[in-house]
Subunit: 212 residues, 2 copies
DNA sequence: AAATATAATTAACACTGTTAATATTCCTAA
DNA sequence: TTAGGAATATTAACAGTGTTAATTATATTT
C-alpha cells in the first residue's frame, strides 16, 4: 500500500504549504491582512480548499502560534547551559525581550491577541499546547534555582514568577503597541535619552539583585 | 443669529448620539462587533451619515478611548487625597487593577489595541491626548514623593515608574487575554488556590516595601 | 421665489470568513 | 477495461465589513 502513503504525504505537504504561505503573509502584513483568499492565491488553489486542511482561520493562526512558542522554546533551551541561576534568569529576560522586538507579529499572536488562546480553549481541551506551558515551567524552575542560591527567599515562587512574566510582558507589550515611544516623544523632559526598554529592564535587574 | 447656534447644537447632539450608540454597542459586544452599520441602525440614520460627524471608525474609537482615560483619570484623582506616598502608590495599583477588571473593553481599547494610538499618531500630532499622559504623570509624581520619604532612592524615577506600569499592565493584560487562567487550569500543582492576580500584586507590594 | 449651501441618502466598490452544491480527479472492485 | 464510489477541488453564494462617489432632500440666504 505504498500509494496510500504517498497520498497521505501529499496531503500533509499541502497542509504545510498552506501554513508556509500563511506564515509569509502574516510576517509581512500581520494578522488582519492575512486573508484566506490571499493564502489561496499564493499556493494557487481555490480559497475553499483551505477549509479541507484547516478548520478555519483561527486554526491556521493557532498553528503559527505554536510555531512561535517552539521558536521561543529553542531560544530558552540554549539558556539551560547557563548554570548560575540568577544569570540564567537575567538571560531569559533578555531573550524574551529580544524575541518580542525581533518577532513582533509572533509576539502579538502568542501573548497579546485573544484568538489563538480562545481556539485552544474551544478545541484543544486537555493535553494540548505544551509549548507555551513549557516556557513558563522553565521560568518557575529558574526562580526555584534562584531561591536555592539565596535569592527571593521570602517570596512565593509562583507569585514571583508571575511578577517577572508580568513585568517582561508589560514592557514588551507597551513597547510594541507604541505606548512607550508615545510617552517618550511627548514627555521629553522626563524621557531624556533613549532605549527606555533597556533602562527599565536594567532597573528591574537592579531591583532583583537587592533581593538576595 | 440664534438659529445658527441651535443648528450647531443640533449637530453636536447628533455627534454625541453617535458616540453613545457606539459606546453601548462597544461595551456590549466589543470592538469588532461594533460596526458602522449597527451604530447607524441604532440612531436610525443611514450608515454614511456617520462619516459626516466622524472621519472613520478609528475616529469614533479614539473618542471612546479618550472617555476611558477620563474615567481612569477621575478614579486616580480621588487618590490624591491619600497623603502618604507609598500608600497612594499601592492604592493606584489597586485602582488600576480594578479598572482593568471592571472595564475590560475600555482597558483593551486604551492599552492593548493598536488602532487608537495609531490614530493619535496620524491625526493628533502635537498637543492632543493629555488624558493618557496625565495618568502617567501622576505615577511619576507619586514615585518622586515616595523617594522623598525614603523609598526607591537608588533608582531612576522614570525607569522605576515604567517598571511599575509595565508590571501592572502586564498583569492586567495577561489576565484579560486569558493567559493567567489558562496557566492556572493546566498547571494545577503550581497554581493551587485562586486569585493569582491578587497574590501577584501582593508579592509586588512586598517587593517594593523592601526598597525603603 | 430662486439660488445656494447643508445634510442625508442610495448605490456601489472592494474586501472579509465561511458554507452548500457542484464538478473533477483518482483509486478500487467487478 | 470499465463502472462505481470516495476523496479532492471548484464555483457560486451568503452575510457581513469599512468606505467613497453620486444623488436627493432639506434648510438657509439672496
Amino acid at each position: 500500500m505504498g500509494i496510500k502513503e504517498r497520498k497521505e504525504k501529499h496531503k500533509e505537504d499541502l497542509r504545510q504549504r498552506i501554513l508556509d504561505a500563511a506564515k509569509e503573509l502574516f510576517l509581512k502584513d500581520g494578522y488582519d491582512a492575512t486573508s484566506i483568499r490571499k493564502i489561496a492565491e499564493k499556493i494557487e488553489f481555490s480559497p475553499t480548499t483551505i477549509y479541507l486542511y484547516y478548520k478555519d482561520k483561527a486554526d491556521i493562526m493557532y498553528a503559527l502560534h505554536q510555531e512561535g512558542f517552539i521558536l521561543l522554546g529553542t531560544q530558552f533551551a540554549v539558556l539551560q547551559h547557563v548554570h548560575e541561576p540568577f544569570e540564567r534568569l537575567k538571560a531569559m529576560g533578555r531573550v524574551y525581550m529580544s524575541f518580542a522586538l525581533n518577532n513582533p507579529d509572533f509576539y502579538e499572536l502568542m501573548f497579546i491577541m485573544k484568538e489563538p488562546i480562545e481556539f485552544v480553549k474551544a478545541h484543544c481541551h486537555g493535553e494540548e499546547w505544551e509549548e507555551g506551558e513549557q516556557a513558563f515551567g522553565a521560568l518557575i524552575m529558574t526562580v526555584n534555582h534562584c531561591k536555592e542560591v539565596g535569592y527571593f527567599t521570602k517570596f512565593d515562587t509562583t507569585a514571583f514568577a508571575l511578577n517577572i512574566w508580568s513585568l517582561m510582558h508589560g514592557l514588551c507589550a507597551l513597547k510594541l503597541q507604541g505606548h512607550l515611544d508615545h510617552m517618550a516623544s511627548t514627555k521629553t523632559e522626563i524621557f531624556a535619552g533613549d532605549d527606555w526598554m533597556e533602562k527599565t529592564f536594567s532597573s528591574f535587574v537592579q531591583m532583583l539583585e537587592g533581593l538576595k
